[in-house]
């Protein structure tokens, strides 16, 4: 067992302890988000680390369990005793094997089969039971909806087939959202009153304004039933139905609605708090370089702190050790706080999105709601600025091509209003943005045909779903009539992907016909914080950003025998891989070690390998520019100061390969 594996096991055991704590907390408070996020985050870390160190079965197991908790997080599933038990048991198994350091069994899929099956079965059962699987999700995301009760009593004699403007006004009001109506007619067919339950994003004033011109002909009472869409959920809708059919009284309905209010309150609070807080807290604008200076000084302090700790440990002076450890705690808090300073909430971005959706949907005669969640999530200002255009492009496409016209939606049994959702949350040093619409989805056949037509793929290329959807990011795909007629206004999908990759983030798309399209975007919280793998080549330490890394393998260096170019056909994981050796490229080959570590990364959806001498570990570092002098080294995105004060170079894998592909040709 090598040092990396030892470290891995230690880290894992630590993580599992945290996971236990989180799971138990979650069991006690199933609706609290903090423990859920914690559990999810830890699983995610476990998955990543396990895959990276080659324990793919642990990774697989973590992935399956993560999926379960993702469902919980997305609101498709409740936290149940069974879910907690399945998770605890599964990780107990892993922990047991890790503690025994039983590598053989850890690598054996049979060891985890039972737990995997249980997780899959649980998910399957869950999906079967809950046809209304987005119960909680709707509750949370559709808070923009308010359900009103309108009681309209005409003061004149009209019939429902009459020609009075009130009839049409009521029809218009019904169309403001989802609605249920009951007409109470007298024996002579004249109308006594209407009762209309309307779930809409329109305000009460807006609704009331419809009746402005018929004021003298009727009496209208608008009252709020619930701060959400009561008609979206079958249980609620049936209660509304009972009320309209006069099987329950208004009081009973109100009591029922009050109960719902309590349930939604947690979400409400979440959404309202930040903006509320914003108004109250004073904001100071500070020049960026001041923050940079502060960060520089603090990073220096972090390094001094490590040195102090070393000295303190060596002197065996208890009092000194004590102080040193306290300084350590304060310094790491200080670092956290100072990194937070340069982060801003993505709220500003959301406002732009709302505006775009509103304007565009009107000009296209579509009905589209935009719903966002997690707008208080914070991100680096630079990243937000760089992501604005790409995100606007995705949303523009969703309104333009995803969401169908109201008639088409109606004919397919969908609500006339299309919905675009932005869900934002943080996990570790990353921000996740999920943009989803409930439109027609991406037409795979059309996309493939287009790609064949334009010679991007050959006719007999077999692509899986991911690969097909990835075609939309292909720079060669002319998107004139497939993606955007609102084009010419900015970027294409290839540029969207490029911007995200530049920021060391990733984008994935999934889609199902008729049900909509989802974009999953993952971005680092800050351009300057990098989650990286520390590697060594000759006397130089490099950081390779983790988001790009697929796997790591160790091979004898003798396999890498071609000089000064990318060597194709190095067999990694039973597949040939083009490999670039940093040592052969830039350093003396005299003292090449016996083995090299091959780090497999994804560059433009193709796997490439970077050969380094060896891996030293994983770490989070702060990216620092190298200054204006090193302009030729675009494959190095900057530098990072390590714990001991040494400077490592941060590699930009994509640029590295771009540079050498050019050279080869």
């Amino acid at each position: 067992m090598d040092d990396n594996q030892k470290q891995f096991i230690e880290d894992m055991l630590d993580l599992f302890n945290q996971l236990d704590e989180g799971l138990m907390q979650l069991e006690a408070t199933p609706h609290a988000s903090a423990p859920l996020e914690q559990v999810f985050r830890i699983m995610h870390t476990v998955k990543g680390a396990a895959n990276m160190f080659g324990f793919e079965h642990i990774g697989d197991l973590a992935h399956h369990l993560e999926t379960l908790f993702d469902h919980v997080r997305e609101g498709h599933m409740h936290v149940t005793d069974e879910l907690i038990s399945i998770t605890l048991n599964a990780f107990d198994k892993v922990r047991d094997l890790l503690q025994k350091k039983n590598l053989d069994k850890l690598m054996d899929s049979r060891e985890f089969r039972g737990h995997l099956d249980r997780a899959s079965l649980f998910l399957k059962n869950h999906e079967a039971i809950s046809h209304d699987k987005s119960f909680l999700n709707r509750l949370s995301t559709q808070t923009a909806f308010v359900t009103y009760l309108l009681e309209i009593t005409p003061s004149i004699e009209i019939t429902s087939d009459g020609n009075h403007p009130l009839i049409y006004i009521i029809k218009d009001v019904e169309a403001l959202g989802v609605s249920k109506i009951r007409i109470q007619a007298r024996e002579d067919k004249t109308i006594d009153h209407w009762k209309l339950v309307l779930a809409t994003v329109s305000s009460q004033e807006e609704i009331e304004s419809y009746f402005l011109f018929v004021e003298q002909d009727c009496k209208v009472i608008v009252s709020t039933l619930a701060p959400c869409n009561l008609l979206e959920t079958p249980v609620w809708a049936s209660t509304v139905e009972e009320f309209l059919n006069q099987r329950i009284t208004k009081e009973q309905l109100d009591t029922f609605c009050a109960g719902i209010k309590d349930q939604t309150e947690t979400f409400e609070n979440k959404e309202n708090e930040p903006s509320h807080r914003n108004h109250q807290q004073a904001i100071i604008k500070v020049k960026k370089h001041k923050i940079d200076d502060l960060l520089n000084k603090i990073s220096e302090l972090v390094i001094l702190k490590s040195q102090l700790l070393n000295v303190a440990h060596q002197t065996h002076n208890v009092a000194l050790n004590d102080v040193a450890e306290r300084i350590e705690a304060v310094v790491s808090q200080l670092l956290g706080v100072s990194l937070d300073i340069s982060l801003i909430q993505i709220e500003t971005l959301v406002t732009q999105f709302k505006r775009l959706v509103r304007d565009l949907s009107r000009s296209l005669n579509k009905k589209v709601n935009f719903i966002s969640k997690g707008v208080d999530t914070e991100m680096d200002k630079d990243i937000i600025e760089m992501m604005t255009q790409p995100l606007l492009h995705i949303i523009r496409n969703a309104v333009d091509h995803g969401i169908e016209h109201p008639e088409e939606r109606k004919s397919q049994g969908k609500s006339e209003h299309g919905t675009i959702k932005l869900n934002t949350f943080r996990s570790n040093a990353f921000i996740n943005l999920i943009i989803s619409d409930d439109g027609r989805g991406i037409d795979k056949d059309r996309l493939v045909n287009k790609a064949i037509e334009q010679g991007l793929i050959s006719r007999d290329t077999q692509l899986n779903d991911d690969e097909v959807f990835n075609l939309i990011f292909h720079p060669g795909l002319t998107t004139a009539d497939t993606i955007s007629d609102i084009s010419g206004r900015g970027v294409g999908m290839d540029v969207v992907k490029q911007s995200i990759t530049e920021l060391r983030g990733s984008i994935k798309v999934s889609s199902s016909p008729g049900a909509g399209t989802q974009f999953y975007i993952k971005l680092p919280i800050s351009r300057s914080i990098i989650d990286g793998l520390l590697v060594k080549v000759a006397d130089t330490q490099y950081i390779i950003p983790i988001n790009a890394i697929e796997r790591i393998d160790r091979i004898p260096s003798s396999i890498l025998n071609r000089k000064k170019r990318i060597q194709s056909g190095v067999m990694i994981n039973e597949k040939p891989l083009p490999v670039l050796s940093l040592r052969q490229q830039y350093y003396d080959e005299q003292d090449t070690p016996k083995t090299s570590d091959i780090i497999t990364i994804k560059v433009n959806d193709k796997s490439k390998g970077i050969a380094v001498d060896h891996i030293e570990g994983m770490m989070e570092v702060i990216l620092k520019p190298m200054g204006d002098l090193y302009t030729n080294q675009d494959f190095i995105s900057g530098s990072a100061i390590l714990g001991d004060g040494a400077v490592a170079l941060v590699l930009d894998p994509e640029r590295l390969f771009m540079r050498h592909t050019k050279n080869v040709i």
Binding site: Y630, T631, A646
Partner: protein, 160 residues
């Protein structure tokens, strides 16, 4: 009270047993030569980058840049942190390696001989003046000519 004679402060240092002086306005500080990180694919005199209390600076080898023979680094080797001025007053800080850093001296303007007055002196050198104090020669160096920002950039681009 002014003596009427104008003088300027210079930092003196040794390179290849010859004494040079650089105007203190360009000098930020002098630090010991410490470990640095090599940056691949750069000209030989651009040694790499180093960490100056949390700031990353390029480390340049003055000997190589001036075409002098290379020499082992000793305990006396120092790094002068210099401010180089580029276009539109852009300032770049660099670390330049010298054999020995001496002291800050006041040099009277009138004791400086211009190289134009000296026969056979190449005008392209970065030496802008020479002080001969009874045989003790100090050469005043225009550091911007040695490591001109634009030139450094050019070098970087030329190797592409």
């Amino acid at each position: 009270m002014s003596t009427g004679k104008k003088s300027e402060a210079y930092l003196t240092f040794l390179l290849n047993d010859e004494k040079f002086a650089v105007h203190v306005n360009y000098v930020h500080e002098v630090v010991e030569f410490n470990k640095y990180t090599r940056v691949p694919d750069a000209p030989a005199y651009m040694l790499g980058i180093f960490n100056l209390r949390g700031t990353i600076l390029p480390l340049l080898d003055t000997r190589i840049k001036l075409g002098l023979p290379q020499k082992e680094k000793t305990t006396k080797t120092r790094v002068i942190i210099l401010n180089i001025y580029g276009e539109e007053d852009a300032i770049t800080s660099i670390g330049a390696i010298v054999d020995v850093a001496r002291e800050v001296v006041e040099i009277e303007d009138e004791s400086v001989q211009k190289p134009d007055d000296i026969e056979g002196f190449k005008s392209s050198t970065p030496i802008t003046g020479i002080v001969n104090d009874h045989g003790d020669i100090t050469m005043i160096m225009d550091i911007n000519r040695v490591f001109s920002f634009d030139e450094l950039n050019q070098v970087g681009k030329a190797t592409i």
